[in-house]
Symmetry: D3
Amino acid sequence: MREIARPDPAVCKALATYGVATVHEAQGRIGLLASYMRPIYSGKSIAGPAVTVSSPPGDNWMIHVAAELVKPGDILVVAPTSSCEDGYFGDLLATSLQAHGVQGLIIDAGVRDVATLKQMDFPVWSKAIYAQGTIKASLGSVNVPVICAAQAINPGDVVVADDDGVCVVRREDAAKVAEAAARRVALEEEKRKRLASGELGMDIYKFREKLAALGLEYK
Amino acid sequence: MREIARPDPAVCKALATYGVATVHEAQGRIGLLASYMRPIYSGKSIAGPAVTVSSPPGDNWMIHVAAELVKPGDILVVAPTSSCEDGYFGDLLATSLQAHGVQGLIIDAGVRDVATLKQMDFPVWSKAIYAQGTIKASLGSVNVPVICAAQAINPGDVVVADDDGVCVVRREDAAKVAEAAARRVALEEEKRKRLASGELGMDIYKFREKLAALGLEYK
Amino acid sequence: MREIARPDPAVCKALATYGVATVHEAQGRIGLLASYMRPIYSGKSIAGPAVTVSSPPGDNWMIHVAAELVKPGDILVVAPTSSCEDGYFGDLLATSLQAHGVQGLIIDAGVRDVATLKQMDFPVWSKAIYAQGTIKASLGSVNVPVICAAQAINPGDVVVADDDGVCVVRREDAAKVAEAAARRVALEEEKRKRLASGELGMDIYKFREKLAALGLEYK
Amino acid sequence: MREIARPDPAVCKALATYGVATVHEAQGRIGLLASYMRPIYSGKSIAGPAVTVSSPPGDNWMIHVAAELVKPGDILVVAPTSSCEDGYFGDLLATSLQAHGVQGLIIDAGVRDVATLKQMDFPVWSKAIYAQGTIKASLGSVNVPVICAAQAINPGDVVVADDDGVCVVRREDAAKVAEAAARRVALEEEKRKRLASGELGMDIYKFREKLAALGLEYK
Amino acid sequence: MREIARPDPAVCKALATYGVATVHEAQGRIGLLASYMRPIYSGKSIAGPAVTVSSPPGDNWMIHVAAELVKPGDILVVAPTSSCEDGYFGDLLATSLQAHGVQGLIIDAGVRDVATLKQMDFPVWSKAIYAQGTIKASLGSVNVPVICAAQAINPGDVVVADDDGVCVVRREDAAKVAEAAARRVALEEEKRKRLASGELGMDIYKFREKLAALGLEYK
Amino acid sequence: MREIARPDPAVCKALATYGVATVHEAQGRIGLLASYMRPIYSGKSIAGPAVTVSSPPGDNWMIHVAAELVKPGDILVVAPTSSCEDGYFGDLLATSLQAHGVQGLIIDAGVRDVATLKQMDFPVWSKAIYAQGTIKASLGSVNVPVICAAQAINPGDVVVADDDGVCVVRREDAAKVAEAAARRVALEEEKRKRLASGELGMDIYKFREKLAALGLEYK
């Protein structure tokens, strides 16, 4: 699949700023990838359209095919068709993707050359760090819907990734979710100030009555 | 439970200096939480009285109740009643706890906003980093005995946490354990010097005879 | 076993430079330890002859025996005879080994005092970070073949370890593998430049024909 | 969602006869749920249309809603929105579903009362057996697309389950897949006879030439 | 600890009849051991006073000490002080315990000789089946409070175990919990009949109004 | 490797009778495969020479090659070169191996068609039950030393497998181990009688003095 619809880059940029936890809440607590998806180094926050790769276990051939279909700002999403920790991806593929403007990689499998990837500042969220090599023997698919770490991701959906993990936002919902996230951030900012001044959440959120109604007792 | 007995702050401070491995040894190799409890960032060493929260799975309401019962120097300990990786805790709750002098959080579940928590220097030891939101629907208990990551923790017990993990010391044993830890540290200091100079543990600890008696042979 | 044959130090040094992923590929994708073997801190790359320890679960006595058999440049490899996460190793043992020139530790079990080990710059790759103490009650063996994290390691084999994990190279193959790795690095360097300039792997590796033959279609 | 399209019952019956491994192969090795999905007792093989439930973690309310939407021959598919092992389902719910002709349950969470479920002959494939109770506090959805144990399942898709695990077949592909499976079974039957008589797969499948071409050597 | 208070045998017998899921609910959803505790063979349901053993990892000596303190109807509960899968227990120990009337074993570690244990009809709930031998080198404790598979168990507490797992009931609450369980069973019996006749849980439990109030819609 | 040395069939038969736990003890507690290796159905006890297969992850081609090298009484041992749960083996391969007298399969990966394998009475010990298909694309090796589930196994070594798991005995040690196991069984038989009559292990093994010396106290 050569051509996919992509979301508004400004919306992606905003979603990267809000981060995974806020975006996940803003869209009604959906879209979060499994907790085993961890960044290979900390401190990055990115968001961009998914270019998806469905790959046989232990076979990274399709990533090379994907490399000719990416556009600046994209995020590569790789999902093996069967559970696998092999090291599908290393510094050469990262060099190629980075040369074409790809922001990073989400892979429900292993990654290697992580010291170099960190030097290059090419962020990866993966299931494992593992040097095990892969083969190039079978076809897979690029830019098809995939299941990656327990979430369905379509090509062009927005992937948001930071130190908290990875969240997917449907392309058609991205603008709306960004707005909801913005409102949430504004609201939280005000609460943060009150909480920082020592005011209690019990009072700010008016929990006392509800908890008392449920039978909360102090001893 | 509003009022709990707390240990001597000076003892807590000492235990934080000795660290988890030494404290665990000094009290006879008990009290260590499961190895899956890891810090969200490295380099912190804290110790303080536990304010405990027993919470339904996926429900963080009781943490807000706990926030009004904490005192400066406390460490919040959260244990769901059923295994759970959801993100019970984020930067807003941390802001509130930090405003009241809480040193950090031990949670047998997930945590989120970890990049912000690191910026705030609010350390957390958790089972997972996961943005999954929690609800506020059911009561739990604050300052009751809990089982957290395979250890029983009572309110007021001293929790010690550093890069090696987390250890609990009964409140009534804390002073005694701190003394034992101090002796151990002094003893180790002398051994460290001898080992650093190249002397062998085999000689320092006089292992040769015992091992020979058990049948150790060199070939 | 007192005396073991050791590989050429220059070869070890070269293998450390090439790193785990390259060495693993250069020797035909063998020798990689399980993916759960992770460094306690990042950024180190070492290679050296294995001094092996086969130890009962939860008993670290034999590490003291090994400490008198090591030589500068060695890497200690510890494998319990049954699955174990206990903290076999801490800063005192590290002080002793470092005094004798040991480069680091590979242990299919737990390690503790990790903050101090990082300060000392004594790298460890382990299955767990866990303060749980071990006993000194039973004999094991030093410098015998062991199974460590799913790989067979013989005393004197070269262990290569970096942020990607750990790989073992048979002592007798080390020079040959280092040469193959050097060729691979040279080859990759040229490809890296072409990829960095935007050329596609599809073209550099001439994948288009093979993929078309297998039936790859673009839509 | 009250009304869903359902597949032909005869096709479902055929798919149950062929079983998970054959169906998975017949549709091109797709659709297999994660290997942790295991039957609570062995010896059952079922196939039928999925009635899907998307449920908050630890909340089984929506299963009661689903119970009024099922038809004879259906299979209930329950997927929590966040990883959960709680016991969503027991013998009372099974009694209700069985009264309405439901064949069994696929649940990416826990189940309880398993001894009674076996007596009732109500088969379940689950992630865990766990008595932990769930609450009835939040809404979810019935008959929406879900992600269950790493596969996307739509309402009305055919779920096939036996001792090998669980596989999903798209409703619109079911007839075609059943035919392909029938052909595969016929083909395998003939091969089974030849293999049972001692003939080698190497000869039946003509592997010798291909392997020799790849360099296979006998020593 | 030689003498412990034991619960009323009639109460234990009743709790065994009600089973783990019902007892867990009847006491307010507490006391359930971790889901990894599985029976070595299915179909048993037992309940009885816990004789507890706290044991060093990989050391089963204390089980022999416990064997002289048991009484008919007891259930042995073994908890290592550090996570361990070794095979602490086999057919000889079972022969001894069975001769003294012990009903079964709950062990947060491994067990072996499982084929013989099944023949003897000596049920075990364990974390693993593993033949790995243990040593007899260190002291532990018998009849002290232990943490077993994430629950605190005191000597004399009632342990209930069946195919759903294991639940602990405080000795002093046992009679009260048995009554609550009896009420629950009676209530469920009536509901089971209504559900078996095809009546819906939605109507029996009057869920329609509550769900409508939360916004449930049918499409 | 066409020809391998095989152990005495009478010794294998004896080792199967003694079983995994006894054999493991009789050879000094070595040779036990990881605890995740479980039988697909219970009640079998086999022992025989290993025909080993080293296979790429997700590729079962080499099992067909092995099928022409087996002899009656052999046990096939399959070890992927990288961690894998795919279903390498099903009823067709089992039919072929059974036709040639193979007793069973040990595989550090997945297996499928388990209902049929049970009907055929072809026992398998595996890491997983999983229908995921494998490819036939790359060479591996037959009858080379492999690492299978954390143990080194050489072709011709005796593999012993029963409900407790799997143990390997070096071919050259098999007769000696069988004798030691026979002695152990005889010794245990006598102890079993004494224990069954109610005599305590504390007295039979004379533990009282040793435990008292270590400080055991009764309260």
